[in-house]
């Protein structure tokens, strides 16, 4: 992303940030199915994954239309390499133990919830309509992940240690949720995207509230300039994509 790109390119890239974040987070949560700590958690995590894939499909279709190169949801999901993905790097972080998954989801859910809450007023009416649907889903996702974080943080000594360790390990990835870049500013200026400062303030407030209830300490802000939303990812993403894209890459050009 640079200042020289056209309005359509910038718009498309912004929608891909939202789309890829849902897609990659959905892929991670779907890995839990059949392996959760209780049957109820298997079902709940699958529900959240389904919502995220639903958001990703709508947003990828929208991005493809803005791009105007006849790429549909599958062409975008299965036909791009890691550097072309625009998800926040937090979403691609491995599941780890249940605490790591929950901490990752708490941070992401809060960010998606605040982002979509603002996007319902987007100048892009289609994006606004997708946000209307997504915000209801994100409310439930937040209720689930924050409920579990409180139980883990204020449960046993072991669960508190694990939640605390996950928070320390993942906190640096919140830098890009909070630091607006040129594209975020440009989208806000033209009314497509939310005002970054507003989303950031609400996100911080939400996180502070849940961490206090979970008896966890808000870590100090860590500068971490490697932002997935600009295509700079961790090693985890190529592995995730190798799995996700395996079949369409092996058998290109067929329908499934």
């Amino acid at each position: 992303m640079n200042g020289a790109c056209t309005a359509a390119e910038a718009h498309c890239e912004y929608v891909l940030r939202l789309a890829d974040t849902s897609l990659v987070a959905g892929q991670r949560l779907a890995e839990w199915l059949g392996h959760g700590p209780t049957l109820e958690e298997d079902l709940a995590l699958a529900n959240i994954a389904l919502d995220l894939f639903g958001q990703a499909r709508l947003l990828l279709t929208l991005a493809g239309r803005i791009e105007g190169c006849a790429r549909d949801e599958d062409a975008l999901a299965f036909g791009r390499d890691a550097a072309e993905f625009r998800n926040v790097a937090l979403a691609e972080q491995p599941n780890g133990d249940f605490a790591q998954t929950i901490v990752r989801q708490v941070m992401l859910d809060a960010w998606q919830l605040e982002t979509y809450s603002s996007l319902v007023a987007s100048a892009d009416t289609e994006l606004a309509a997708i946000a209307q649907k997504a915000v209801k889903e994100c409310r439930y996702h937040w209720r689930y992940s924050s409920g579990w974080l409180v139980r883990l943080g204020d449960g046993t000594g072991e669960s508190h240690r694990r939640a605390s360790a996950a928070l320390q390990a993942l906190w640096r990835f919140t830098d890009e949720l909070r630091v607006a870049d040129e594209l975020d500013a440009r989208m806000a200026a033209c009314g497509i995207g939310p005002e970054p400062a507003v989303v950031n303030a609400r996100w911080q407030e939400r996180l502070a509230g849940v961490l206090e209830a979970a008896r966890l300490t808000v870590p100090a802000h860590q500068h971490y300039p490697w932002h997935g939303k600009r295509g700079v990812h961790t090693e985890a993403l190529t592995h995730l994509l190798a799995t996700l894209q395996y079949l369409p890459r092996l058998y290109p050009g067929v329908s499934w």
């Binding site: 897609l23 892929q27 779907a30 890995e31 199915l33 059949g34 392996h35 959760g36 700590p37 209780t38 049957l39 109820e40 958690e41 298997d42 079902l43 699958a46 529900n47 994954a49 389904l50 894939f53 639903g54 990703a56 499909r57 990828l60 949801e73 599958d74 999901a77 299965f78 133990d97 249940f98 937040w142 209720r143 924050s146 409920g147 579990w148 409180v150 139980r151 883990l152 204020d154 449960g155 046993t156 072991e158 669960s159 694990r162 939400r206 509230g209 849940v210 209830a213 799995t243 996700l244 395996y246 079949l247 369409p248 058998y251 067929v254 329908s255 499934w256």
Partner: protein, 333 residues
Amino acid sequence: MYTQALDAQPGAAGADDAEQQARLARFQERIDRDEKIEPTDWMPEQYRHMLIRQIAQHAHSEIVGMLPEGNWITRAPSLRRKVVLIAKVQDEGGHGLYLYSAAETLGVTRAALIEQLLAGQARYSSIFNYPTLTWADIGAIGWLVDGAAIMNQIPLCRCSYGPYARAMVRICKEESFHQRQGYELMLTLARGSAAQRAMAQDAFARWWRPALMMFGPSDAHSVHTAQSMRWKIKRFSNDELRQKFIDATVPQAHFLGLSIPDPELRWDAASQHFQTGPIDWGEFEAVLRGDGPCNRERLAARREAHEAGAWVRAAAVAYAEKHPEHAPAASVG
């Protein structure tokens, strides 16, 4: 079916006094009148045990059955296929939940039943001990495994035990949808590239015979069928259901352009049924015994999930004890 191992169980001791005989007779009369037996009703201990075992085996089958299909969720080749598969595997988890709840109405706990499964003391359907090696296996499972399951489960909607019968109504609706999505997946592959057609044929060849075994041993070797049928827990014999499945499925395979991996398969005009070659019951016994291709992996995956989740469950309990005001679920915001 998902409860095929029941057929190998010995009968329990009968009633030994007049009052017990009279109760048994009244119970049988209720069954004969097609009345539903409810959790608080008197029932013979053997009926209770038979049902607990059957429902538990069915529930375990759903839970273990999430694994072979779950194996392809992260690799589904389109986003539409991915959400369909997640929803299907999620349905299976839901069926497990339903069925464990139905079993609990008979005086056992889900935790105890799961302990039995993890200890290797409980059975689940042999079919889930086969591997899912290609994407086409997802189609073959939906079409054949869910198709076979439906054959057995539709009659269970009329099972004499109320909670089980009612759970089966919803389960059958979902299974029927699963079967259609599996067949539609196979149809897409059958109409696809040469590589996709080969994938579909390979999957069909591997799943056909294990699917036939899902109905359990032939009637001649199924010692438990008679009592189970008298009590209307079971309404058709294994061989009747297997034949019904074969007759329905062979034309479907032909429509897909797939060849049946059985040189002895033929249409028998006299009986108006398809006749198949012999089933390898040695393989069936081996898989039930624990020596199938994936028995160890399936149980290991369940044990790992259970053990890795122990601290999470403990945390939930500890939190609930500290905060009874928040029971049953914590929530923020």
